[in-house]
Every structure is written in C-alpha cells, then in structure tokens.
C-alpha cells in the first residue's frame, strides 16, 4: 500500500502485537483477590518512563485518587495519552510528563490550562503529538481488537494529522483516502468505576467514555472503585460487566475517588474545589502550594477524604444526577 502522507509526529509508544498477545497469554485467569491500597497499586504497576493513560477525564468519573498517588510517588518521565482536565494538570504541574499524545488538555469552562502552557512552552514536555479525541480512542480500539491500525475519515487534510503519527493511504478496496491510526498499547491505565468486585469485575453507570477500549488496550490496569461489591452481584448482572476481571491487575477502594469531579448518580462536581485548582494553577508557585496541600502533605486518599470533610461531600451528593 502506497503511503500518501505521514504525520511528522513521533510514534511515542511503538507496539508489537505478538508481544502483546504473549503478555496477555501469561496474564492470570484465576479469580484472585486484587484489592490493595493505592500506594501499593501505583508502586507495583506504574513506573518511571512508562506509557500511561487515564479514563474518563478530570471532572468526570476520573481516577483522581490514583492520579494524586502517582504525583505523591513522583513517578517520572511519563509518556501520557489522551485528554485531561485536573488529573493531567496535576501531573504536568508536578513535572512528571515527558511526552504527550495530546487530544485535549484544558480547564473546559474555565479555559486553557496554565499547567499545560507552562509545561509545553518551557520545553519541560519534550514532545506533543496531536490526535483528535476520536482518533486516540480508535487507536485504543485497534489495540483492543489486536490489530495494528484502524482507518478513519477524520483528521485528513489538517495539521492535526500533520503533527500526528498517522499515515494516509488509498483504501485498497475503493481507492478513497483514509488516515491509518496506529494501535496504542498502554503500559498502564487508571480507570475509576462505580463498582468492582475483589477480582476486578467492573460496572459503570452512565456514559462509558472510552473505558472499554482503554481497559483492553493496557498491559497493566489499575481500577479504583467507589464500592467493592460481592461477586454474586456481578454474576447476577453479567450484562453490566464493562471490564472483566482478567484485564485487571489491581482494585483500589476509593470512595469519592473522582473528587473534585463528579460520579454520575453518586455525587456532582465540587465547583469550589475545581475553581481552587483553576485559581491556584495560574502560577507555578500556586500550583505547587496546591500539590503540597492536597497531595504531598497527605499520606493518601483517606487523609484527603478527611481534609475535604463530610460537609463538602454531602453537598456534592445533593448535586448528583438523579434518576427520576
């Protein structure tokens, strides 16, 4: 197949599908208890220089407690994919990120990310390879399917493609131009869910974002869950299992794990909490003070829960999406 155009971006995470198959072959199919503290999970499965992804993002069903633990353990030289609001902001502000396969990092309603601007404009982040949200998800989907690439009709003709690592070819069946998106096999992924059993069978309420794709594209998967439920609940509703246990390496119990973001039907956004980061992240000093207050000065998520306090969580619970 003739390559008509190659994006100039680096393939930040080269892949070998036979190696991925071999990796998956040796992953245990046994039902073993994988519940562990967040410090142990991050310490075991996230390492310097690894390629890592988080799902969903910042203010929505986000593994914030795990993201904070990554900062606390000062894992460095991370290569990171995807979109982020608060979680990737924290990593950028803490100087953990070396390369980005970026789709969107920003503060949504509050505008561009100050942490991203500082990290990229100073050269601290060495490379930004561009993708659209659709494209990065299809890259994960390709890995989840076990195939080297997926074609798309998105990104064509733009600088988003020019600064990506996609390739444009003529489709061998019709001759039409398509962009080929390379599979993205993650070294590690962090996903926050509503419920999991101790083996790692997971249920999510509301939108599923790209959890199904990311879970299947990752070599090491840490799941944090609002609630740990008995396996008989999983077996009662097997149609609800979005992520089956054999994909999962660690299960961390993390009530309010998405705070200050929301968790559909459980709690809403903590707007003052989100705004605190928006304000403090305007300067590097402010961002550091935030990291001290909410991460470095705390032992872990339990202390974070105590710092935020029942009153504030109660208000978030009142603001939850309700089924009426």
């Amino acid at each position: 197949m003739e390559i008509l155009q190659s994006g100039t971006g680096e393939l930040t995470q080269p892949f070998d599908l036979d190696e991925f198959r071999a990796w998956n072959r040796k992953k245990s199919r046994k039902l073993v208890d994988k519940v562990m503290p967040e410090a142990e999970a991050i310490g075991k499965f996230v390492y310097d220089g690894c390629y890592i992804g988080t799902e969903l993002y910042g203010t929505v069903r986000c593994p914030m407690s795990l993201a904070r633990e990554v900062v606390r353990q000062r894992v460095k030289d991370l290569r990171v994919c995807g979109q982020g609001v608060l979680e990737l902001d924290l990593w950028l502000a803490a100087g953990l990120v070396k390369k980005l396969d970026i789709t969107y990092i920003g503060l949504e309603v509050y505008g561009t990310s100050y942490a991203l601007r500082r990290a990229v404009e100073s050269g601290q982040v060495e490379k930004c390879v561009e993708w659209s949200n659709g494209a990065i998800t299809w890259r994960l989907k390709a890995a989840a399917m076990g195939v080297p690439f997926l074609p798309t009709r998105s990104m064509l003709g733009t600088d988003t493609l020019a600064y990506s690592a996609a390739k444009v070819v003529a489709d061998p069946f019709t001759g039409a131009k398509v962009a080929l998106l390379p599979a993205l096999v993650l070294d590690a992924a962090l996903i926050h869910v509503h419920r999991a059993d101790k083996y790692g069978n997971c249920q999510v309420d509301g939108i599923t974002g790209f959890a199904a794709e990311m879970a299947r594209a990752s070599k090491r998967l840490i799941v944090s869950a609002e609630e740990i439920i008995p396996t008989q609940e999983i077996r009662k509703y097997p149609d609800r299992t979005l992520i089956p246990y054999y994909l999962v390496d660690a299960v961390v119990h993390a009530p309010y794990g998405s705070h200050p973001g929301e968790m559909a039907y459980l709690y809403g956004r903590d707007e003052p909490g989100i705004k605190e980061w928006v304000e403090m992240s305007k300067t590097a000093e402010g961002a550091q003070a935030y990291l001290d207050k909410y991460i470095y000065n705390l032992q872990g998520h339990d202390e974070y829960l105590a710092l935020i306090g029942e009153d504030r969580f109660g208000r978030c619970v009142e603001l939850r999406e309700k089924r009426e």
């Binding site: 979109q83 920003g106 991203l116 659209s132 949200n133 600064y163």
Partner: protein
C-alpha cells in the same frame, strides 16, 4: 416600549441558537455551543437531539453542562454510551450539525485550537483538537461560534486543527474527507457569516443590531466577502434573554 439591554455574548448565543434545526442531530462542543443548544431546545428546536462526544445522546437540557462528559449531557437522554458510538455515528453520516469554538478562524473556516506560533516551540499552547477535528471532519454541516476580532479572524491560522474548506473548493474531498460536508456558518460577537459557494470564502450575511458593516470588516484580519445586501439580525427577545439569564447560565459562567 422598554429598551432591552444585552451583551454581545448574549446576542451571539441567541443568533447561534436560531440556527439549530428542530429534530436534527447536533454535536455540541464545550462552552458557548452548549448555551446555544440549550436556548434552541427551549425555543425553536424543542426536538433537538444533542450529541456530546463522550457518549450522551438526546439529553433533555434542563441544566447547563459544564463538561462534555457531565451527567447533564445525558440527562433524561436517549442513550448513554461511549465516545466510539458518537464519533462512529458521525463517521457513518448520522450527525447533521456540529457546533464548535476555536481560538482562530481563517477565510475558509479552518479552526485552530492547538498552538499560537510554531507547533514545536509555541508562543501559546492551546488545549488541542479534542473532538473538534472529528466534528469538523465528519458532521454534515458545521457552525463555528467565535469572539470577533482581528486576532481571531486571521488570514492563515497557525495550525489547522479542525478542517473548514481547507484551501478552498474541492480541497476537503481531495484530502479524503467525506463528500458533501463542511462549514456553513460562523456566528460571532459582531455578525453572522456564511460561505460563498463558488470560492468557499467567508462572507458576511447579517450584522448584529447596532454593528456597522465597517466595524465587522475592521475587526476581520482578512478580506470578508460582502453580499449584495447585508441583513441585520434580530436582537434577543425578552424571552430569549430571560431564558439565558434565569434558566440557562444561572451560575453566570459565560454571560
């Protein structure tokens, strides 16, 4: 009759809202497009099917979403699935409109949200494409909603993040983008623009009340085409303003 006062942003949202076609499927980007979609669903397009990229389709917009994955994006909705569902719907031709913002726009409707200045050594790093490129590539028709000034309406965007007509007539098809897709309108704080079908260049369609054609031209960093007759947009109605202020942006996030 009592004179209504309103801001440029409120007027922009009202003009954008009136473009929503009732019953159409519309991909809604973050920010102002959400306010416009919500106003439209409360006025002229009650059967609007909003689509939010992370999986929410057909929400009843009772409260303004602050994020494209917030539960409000599938509140009383038709489905709450994932990003593959929404993006693949667009790729299969199921999404009629996309409503987007950007930091810069050029005469062909190309949008930039990646960097100001050189990509590898940027003056300003912007958030990135997000779902913008997919929306601009795959929806049938796209509408951009922008603040209007010469820094944003530029002859050449620093980084073509989301495709408009690219370099002009036929360029989208040549690049491989789906046939018959492309930008249709730009709604700004000063005016409503469309595109000249022969050249694919942006053309003034209607100014906002109280804004002169000269002011629009002076605030545009490229030659904006002029039609034989420039229309004037209707000001916000009392009801549109009431909805915007009392029911939509109750937290005063945008207006």
């Amino acid at each position: 009759m009592k004179e209504q006062t309103y801001s440029k942003t409120e007027l922009m949202i009202c003009v954008a809202a009136r473009l929503f076609e009732d019953g159409a499927t519309c991909f809604i980007g973050t920010g102002i497009p959400m306010l416009a979609a919500m106003l439209a669903s409360h006025t002229t397009a009650p059967n609007l099917v909003p689509v939010f990229e992370f999986g929410g389709t057909g929400a009843i917009l009772e409260e303004l979403p602050r994020a494209v994955g917030e539960a409000r994006t599938w509140h009383k909705g038709i489905s709450a699935l994932g990003i593959c569902d929404t993006m693949e719907n667009a790729q299969r031709g199921f999404i009629d409109y996309g409503f987007l913002g950007g930091a810069q726009i050029d005469p062909y409707g190309n949008l930039n949200s990646i960097t100001i200045g050189d990509h590898d050594h940027p003056k300003a790093r912007l958030p990135g494409s997000g779902g913008g490129n997919d929306v601009g590539s795959l929806c049938w028709q796209t509408v951009a909603i922008m603040q209007h000034d010469a820094r944003r309406f530029v002859p050449t965007v620093d980084c073509v993040t989301t495709p408009g007509f690219l370099s002009g007539p036929g360029a989208r098809e040549t690049a491989g983008l789906p046939k018959g897709t492309g930008p249709v309108y730009v709604v700004s704080t000063l005016a409503l623009m469309d595109y000249d079908p022969a050249t694919c260049r942006m053309r003034l369609k209607a100014t906002h009340p109280g804004v002169s054609v000269d002011e629009v031209l002076a605030s545009t960093g490229f030659e904006l085409l002029l039609p034989a007759r420039v229309e004037v947009n209707a000001p916000p109605s009392a009801e549109e303003l009431r909805l915007l202020r009392e029911e939509i942006d109750t937290e005063k996030l945008y207006i």
